[in-house]
């Protein structure tokens, strides 16, 4: 187990921050570093990460795979696999900069890929194909880990303080219209590079504060649908559940959020008949998708940003709006650091998703409902 203790800290939990520009005005990486670093007390230096959307405009149509390798052998094997299944548009080592505390890291590469459609598959779903590739690499190739696989987005994460990780990955050099960030205080799982947040699948990226006590149930549920939970951490199930419910089962995003943090029976029982039927059905069918335990999560994708709290709000979560920008973070101070005078600041209700979509995003009916 790689437990790297950099500084002595008292226990306080994780922190997360996210900024979205609904008009897709690019936000410099420096902003999100400042925001997350303001909550440095919430982490212990054992993990931090960022996800940015809109950072690869030149490869907007290609799946951007960020891959960590333990060694060159793993890279060789992985690249063989990739070449077999994808057209490689471009690939390179992810530019990094050694910092005072981060002297060593896994090999970090990125690939811009387009799937090679297999000839014998009847109904080819590109996303399923990519998802399977990610699962295969992570599951089967020792020492290789795809930690980002969406289009025009990328996750950057590692072991270290958020400011150091930002510096390491040279985040300030990127510009994105949606950023999420995370600082980590790992306990249950070793503080390894892959274990840092965000967790991603396709363009879904999840940062998470808390612990999913229902992990075992969620994991075995997801396994029925071909997801492999290999990362020894609970957060990955969130990304997969969102992918399953929203992308594959086509649930409206808000409904998916209600499946993850469903209302209590005593509240459901008081609803009017139609809604009661709906919520009862959600809990009946998606009971295994319920995220139980304390959590606050930010889910980002190419359509926008969603923040969600567990149903009894055991983790802090604040949201704010300023012009076209929506901020979400564990602490209000992280927002104020980068947006001193927001139009509105509020603490969302437990289990009620905060959804901010890009104005030009057309996700169809599924994303009809949003607030902010």
């Amino acid at each position: 187990m790689m437990v790297l203790t950099t500084r002595d800290r008292e226990i306080s939990g994780c922190g997360l921050a996210g900024i979205i520009s609904r008009k897709k005005i690019l936000i410099p990486g420096e902003t999100i570093i400042r925001s997350i670093s303001h909550m440095i007390e919430r982490g212990n230096g054992l993990g931090a990460g960022y996800a940015g959307y809109g950072i690869y405009p030149q490869f907007a149509d290609a799946y951007a795979f960020h891959v960590m390798y333990d060694d060159e052998l793993a890279r060789k094997e992985t690249e063989e696999y990739i070449r077999k299944h994808f057209h490689v548009i471009h690939y390179e080592e992810i530019p990094t900069k050694k910092t005072k505390n981060i002297q060593e890291s896994p090999l970090l590469w990125r690939y811009f890929l387009k799937p090679i459609e297999p000839p014998d598959v009847e109904s080819f779903v590109e996303e399923d194909f990519v998802m399977k590739a990610v699962m295969d690499i992570n599951d089967k190739i020792k020492g290789a880990y795809v930690f980002s696989s969406g289009k025009n987005m990328g996750a950057f994460k590692g072991v270290g303080e958020p400011d150091e990780i930002g510096e390491f990955y040279r985040i300030e050099e990127y510009q994105a219209y949606l950023w999420t960030a995370h600082t980590r205080f790992p306990t249950n799982t070793p503080g390894w590079w892959g274990g840092a947040h965000p967790f991603t699948l396709l363009d879904w990226a999840v940062v998470h504060n808390g612990e999913i006590s229902s992990y075992g149930t969620n994991k075995r549920y997801l396994e029925m649908f071909g997801y492999k939970c290999t990362l020894r951490t609970d957060t990955e199930v969130v990304a997969y559940l969102i992918d399953l419910l929203v992308r594959r089962h086509k649930l409206p995003l808000r409904i998916a959020a209600y499946a993850l943090a469903s209302p209590f029976w005593k509240d459901i029982d008081r609803l009017p008949e139609r809604q009661r039927r709906l919520f009862t059905a959600i809990r009946m069918v998606y009971g295994a998708a319920l995220l139980n335990g304390p959590f606050a999560i930010l889910v980002s994708w190419n359509g926008g940003l969603m923040g969600l709290n567990d149903r009894i709000k055991l983790r802090p979560f604040v949201a704010a709006v300023k012009d076209d920008k929506v901020y979400m973070a564990s602490e209000e101070s992280a927002i104020r650091e980068v947006c001193p005078s927001p139009d509105r600041v509020w603490a969302p209700k437990a289990g009620d998703p905060v959804i901010a979509l890009f104005e030009d995003f057309d996700g169809g009916e599924q994303f009809r409902e949003y607030q902010v």
Partner: protein, 509 residues
Amino acid sequence: MLYKSLSSFPVFELERDYDKCIVCGCCVQQCTYDATYYLPYAKKVITDEHKCVGCKRCEAMCPTGAIKVRAVSNEFKHNAYWDARTIRDIYKQADQGGVILTGGGNDRRFRVYWDHLLIDACQVTNPSIDPLREPMELRTFLGRKPDALKIEYDENGEPDLKTELYPNLVAEVPVIFAPMSYGALNLNMHKAMAAAADAMGTYWNTGEGSLHRDLYKYGHCTIVQVASGRFGVSAEYLKVAAAVEIKIGQGAKPGIGGHLPGEKVDEEISKTRMIPVGSDALSPAPHHDIYSIEDLRQLIYAIKEATNYEKPVSVKIAAVHNVAAIASGIARAGADIIVLDGFRGGTGASPAIVRDYVGIPVEIAIAVVDQRLRDEGIRNWVSIIAAGGIRNSADVIKAIALGADGVYIGTAALLAVGCTLCHKCYTGKCAWGITTNDPYIANRLNPEIAAERLINLLKGWAHEMKEMLGLMGINAIESLKGNRLRLRAVGLTKEEMDILGVLPAGEGL
């Protein structure tokens, strides 16, 4: 009797403190086995220990605590292999040449997997939840569920459910009273279970002896059984119930049929089972219309047709070695619920040899069935009810964590109302008034008191389950379902852990 057959070595001895005996006669009146009687001239009550079955009724009822019933101290010469019971059984069969009957559940020393599984708790990183103040939900849906929901927005922008749901049972506590037939039990016990299930928002199961007319009012919380004997199975019986269960097998006696002796078939049982008074009620081992899985499908759909597809259909099987494959077949045959009855399950009467040595533990059965159904991607199609030896709320939690949706409790329910597990159910003389049909002895079981006790039991278990959910940091039972990471094994072999799908104690994650 001067001459005693070898089999009549007493099993129990009754110690009576004559300094305390006030000769009130309560023990004499309460003993249904005629083991205790009064000596008028000596003005003493004495006991014929050969007849004592160790039910402890006299001990419980003695107002001065003058009686203690104990297992005999002068057993046979100690022998770890030829134990006393084995010896007695051989004597008995040598005497009578029959099948040795017994009641209750398996009492042999097989490994109890429940006791090798420990429950994980939260500390700091994922906080435990206080169930006294925080909400804690046990509501459980039993029945087939669609794999996914289709939800669309209507013209008003309201989300609208487009998926047709299958009928489900909704249990507020995932603990259901196990099928125990009217005949094996008396009506008072049925009344008590029905009332308790009603009060607790859960269900009870009639067993194969049909449903007494007086209990039709409890139809909404009743699971009715259709067994090979088809006793009292009518369209009304099926329609009044909340769910219909096809009984294929029983954990206590897999592959063995039921047999209610004619002398137990009195007027009321006759009316309920719709057979003549005094006639044997035989349930053959197989349903004679089910000799293959497609026949089961035929019966399942016959019941669904007869109930207009409004009720879930459950199939109860004994846990046997290829239970996973069977369960998969049952799920694919259209059942909504599968009941897995482990070898610890109780019975009113069974050949002892079958009860003791046939079947597999329900823990194993749940694990393999849940895994198999998940592997096949059909876990949503059926709910799993675990039955057979669920003793306490921890067993319930463990069963659900292994993959069950709910549990049946039979023996525990009987214990709650006074059963002392003397295993003499088949004699019809149950001194606690539970398994007897002698109307006067049955008076001993006041349905009102029994229902209260059952309610208390369920309430206690529900509280404990909430505590345990809370300590796991979970506030809804669905997050426990199949959550095997919440269990850790102690003292199990690698193979057993693999089958159960649990990690050894001490391993993280």
